[in-house]
């Protein structure tokens, strides 16, 4: 009467999936932009509104693209890490000032430090949409050819810096 074992069998399979599920984070959404060219745009710079910035300007280098805003509380968490990372000078960090006011943004950088080569101003969030931004801060690692290699959602932690970002940057810089 093997068929009476079927319900138990189905249940065991279910439990295995649920157990695996406990190790996952349902809110962690992988980006479809991985290994795709960074979407093009031209935006004014925060420090000098008459100058503009475009991702093509960074071709030939490995660089970090960090989405931030003065109203973003989590950004303050990761900011010291970015500042010390930028001090090492290995890899440039470009900021995307997302849906912010210029004055507030400048004051924020003055207060907490400016790790950015420059910050591009995305006032209405349109470029953010193209980059699939949904939770500020977000950080992209972009290679020499302008292809996005990593999208990190949420504040950068020492762990993610050590385990994911730095090794990837080292690899891409070869």
């Amino acid at each position: 009467m093997k068929r009476f074992l079927i319900p138990l069998g189905v249940f065991i399979v279910l439990v295995i999936f649920l157990a695996v599920g406990l190790t996952l984070n349902p809110r962690d959404v992988p980006s479809p932009l991985k290994d795709k060219p960074a979407p093009a745009f031209t935006l004014p710079q925060l420090a000098a509104a008459d100058k503009s910035f475009s991702p093509a300007d960074m071709k030939g280098q490995v660089w970090l693209f960090n989405v931030w805003a003065s109203w973003c509380v989590s950004c303050r968490q990761e900011h010291p890490l970015l500042v010390s990372f930028a001090k090492d000078g290995k890899v440039p960090v470009v900021g995307l000032n997302y849906k912010d006011q210029g004055v507030d943004a400048k004051n924020w950088l003055a207060k907490f430090g400016d790790p950015y080569l420059l910050s591009a101003v995305d006032a209405d969030g349109r470029v953010g949409i193209d980059y699939g931004v949904y939770g500020v801060p977000e950080t992209y690692v972009i290679d020499k050819a302008g292809v996005i290699r990593l999208k990190h959602t949420g504040p950068i932690t020492p762990e993610s810096l050590q385990k994911q970002i730095l090794p990837l940057v080292a690899e891409l810089s070869k």
Binding site: P7, L8, T23, L24, D28, P30
Partner: protein, 647 residues
């Protein structure tokens, strides 16, 4: 001091549940009368201890004892007293205490209302309930203790989530949990039957009223939750196929299958293994729901603050309870006799079809709910499965079931005459087709979906009326018959509600300055003005809207926009004028520019209250059926001979 008392009572209850879970079970196996006799007092003691524990937690809330971490996280001195009380179950720890209190409550009820059952059976049933209680109490004591202190005590609490500061919180979780947890009784009966090896019609008769009672509570609980979402969220939706909603709906579907299957087992002694499996499945789905809501594996608006560690504990509980019972089933089921014979066309077959359809529906909802997890676990990316999927898949499975609903009650047991049934249904079919054509046109526009829904609803309702007329000719029908008719009618009413509001609701989203008017669904709305009004723990902007029809002023409506001191999100309190044939719904949006203008949403929702009216009828039908005399008959015969019904 109160919190410590509550904690102590909890620990004592844990000890009692160990005694309740182990001793009567062993005693039943060995025939030891004293241990068997322990079951009833143990269940009652456990209930009293947990009631004390619960009262202590409630007292901590009412006394604003913010040294208790749970109270500090979910309450506030300015929170109205009624919500301070219901905040007890507003978070994870407290709602679990409510869960386990209700488990003990059902156990105590079984211990008191089971004089006609053999003591050995009652001992086993209460023991199983005790075993489940051990698991839940261990979970609470070791990972989710509501009595944990925080030192230093908070000066002020963080307040209850504004969305929960509503009468809905007072009724919805308790009713829902009574249903969820009540299914444990059906489960316990099934396990007791498997252990004893006595799975017969008498067992089914004892199990039925308890199962129906849990089903009634679950029906009311889900319906209330849906209605709450409707008037609270401000955009008139009433079901979102959210994982937590599904977690309550799946046990309901299986419980519905179970009460129908129990009918067959009771009357004909057939489907015994299947009925037992359904009883195990229903409670397993309750436990699965508890897991899904509290472990963080799925994103949901309803999820409690989640913690994977807790998830591991509940998963372990699931493995022990469900895995254990399914293993027991696999071992004992082959020994159960087949039961009465029946023909291909018979009421038995139709009820089996009912069960198949309900189980397929449950399976589909389970598949859709867990699929994102499945895909993620296999490393194949991230997916969302939302309302478009569930609506597309659930409705086609339900249609044959609705058609069958009119046919089943007319079929005889063992062998039914299809031609005779068809003859009896002729008039209902004609009425249904007419309704399918006419009702949508009357409402304003003919669409296939509203036509099909109208046809099915009238099909069910008309055939029900004819069944009543026919049955009354041969004397007074029993309560069970009336219960069935009322419940099935409830489904017809529900279908009309869903179809009409889905097909014919109208809404307008407009910019209104004081004095402006807007028309929707034949009703006129004029914004008189918006003024500020303070509340106990919030600031509100209260709008005054004049409702009129055909030029005649009907009443004033007062939609509100609230800003609670404790939260960033503004809350909408819609103004609803509920009516038998329609709801008129006004929702205040945001203030615009500085001219005193506001964005306002007005809705016309025809027959929307029939959705919950139908659910009310369903629950009422179940309640009536439960009152049937035959469940209260005492079995006077000695053990071994049961009520004359063949095993």
């Amino acid at each position: 001091m109160t919190a410590e008392l509550g904690h102590f009572a909890l620990i004592l209850a844990f000890v009692v549940s160990i005694m309740q879970g182990v001793l009567p079970l062993v005693g039943a196996q060995r025939g030891q009368q004293q241990w068997i006799a322990l079951a009833r007092p143990a269940a009652q003691t456990q209930f009293m201890l947990l009631a004390i524990s619960f009262a202590c937690l409630a007292q901590s809330f009412l006394a604003n004892d913010f040294s208790v971490a749970y109270v500090a996280n979910h309450s506030n001195t300015q929170l109205p007293t009624l919500y301070q009380f219901s905040a007890v179950w507003g978070g994870h720890e407290g709602s679990l205490l409510l869960w386990v209190l209700m488990l003990a409550g059902w156990g105590a009820a079984v211990s008191v209302a089971s004089r006609q059952l053999p003591d050995v059976m009652v001992a086993r049933v209460l023991a199983v309930l005790g075993l489940v209680g051990i698991g839940l109490l261990a979970f609470i004591l070791f990972t989710s203790n509501p009595f944990d202190r925080m030192l230093p005590a908070a000066a002020e609490g963080r307040d209850l989530n504004p969305l929960l500061q509503d009468p809905g919180l007072i009724y919805h979780p308790p009713l829902l949990y009574m249903g969820y947890v009540g299914l444990s009784v059906a489960f316990a009966f099934a396990i007791a039957a498997l252990i004893s090896g006595r799975l017969d019609a008498a067992w089914a008769r004892w199990s039925r009223p308890w199962t129906t009672a849990a089903w009634v509570f679950l029906t009311f609980g889900i319906a209330l939750g849906s209605w709450w979402a409707y008037y609270e969220l401000g955009w008139g939706g009433w079901w979102f196929w959210d994982p937590v909603e599904n977690a309550s709906f799946m046990p309901w579907l299986v419980a519905t299958a179970l009460i129908h299957s129990l009918a067959v087992t009771e009357k004909r002694g057939a489907f015994k293994n299947w009925t037992v499996l359904l009883a195990i499945a229903a409670f397993s789905l309750s436990l699965l729901g508890t897991f899904l809501v509290r472990s963080g594996v799925l994103t949901s608006v309803h999820a409690f603050a989640t913690d994977p560690k807790r998830g591991v504990f509940i998963l372990a509980l699931l493995v022990v309870v469900v895995g254990g019972s399914l293993a027991l089933f696999a071992w004992r089921a082959p020994k159960v006799s087949a039961g009465g014979n029946f023909g291909l066309v018979s009421r038995e077959t139709m009820l089996l079809m009912n069960n198949v359809l309900l189980v397929v529906a449950t399976g589909s909802v389970l598949l859709g709910t867990l699929y994102p997890l499945l895909i993620d676990a296999l490393g194949m990316g991230k997916l969302s499965v939302g309302p478009p999927y569930f609506n597309a898949v659930f409705v086609p499975v339900m249609v044959p079931l609705l058609l069958l609903m009119a046919v089943g009650p007319l079929a005889n047991w063992k062998h039914a005459d299809l031609k005779a049934i068809a003859r009896r249904l002729r008039v209902s079919m004609v009425l249904a087709v007419i309704a399918g054509i006419a009702l949508p046109l009357l409402m304003g526009a003919w669409t296939p979906l509203t036509a099909l829904s109208s046809l099915l609803a009238v099909w069910i309702a008309a055939s029900g009326v004819f069944q009543i007329i026919d049955r009354m000719k041969t004397g007074k029908p029993p309560a069970a018959f009336w219960g069935m008719q009322v419940a099935h009618l409830g489904i017809a009413v529900f279908v009309i509600g869903v179809a009409m509001v889905g097909g014919y609701q109208e809404e307008k989203d407009v910019r209104m300055e004081p004095g402006d008017t807007v028309k929707v669904g034949g009703y006129g709305f004029r914004l008189i003005g918006v003024k500020e009004a303070p509340g106990p723990n919030y600031r509100a902007s209260v709008g005054t809207v004049e409702l009129s029809k055909d030029g005649r002023v009907l009443k004033m409506m007062y939609p509100e926009k609230r800003k609670y001191f404790s939260s960033e999100m503004p809350m909408t309190e819609a103004a609803i004028d509920a009516g038998f044939t329609r709801d008129v719904y006004v929702s205040l949006g945001e203030p615009l520019d500085n001219t005193g203008a506001w964005s306002v949403r007005v809705y016309y929702k025809p027959f929307v209250d029939w959705i919950w009216g139908g659910c009310l009828l369903m629950g009422l039908g179940g309640f009536i059926a439960m009152l049937d005399r035959r469940y209260r008959l005492r079995v006077k015969a000695s053990a071994g001979v049961q009520g004359g019904v063949p095993a």
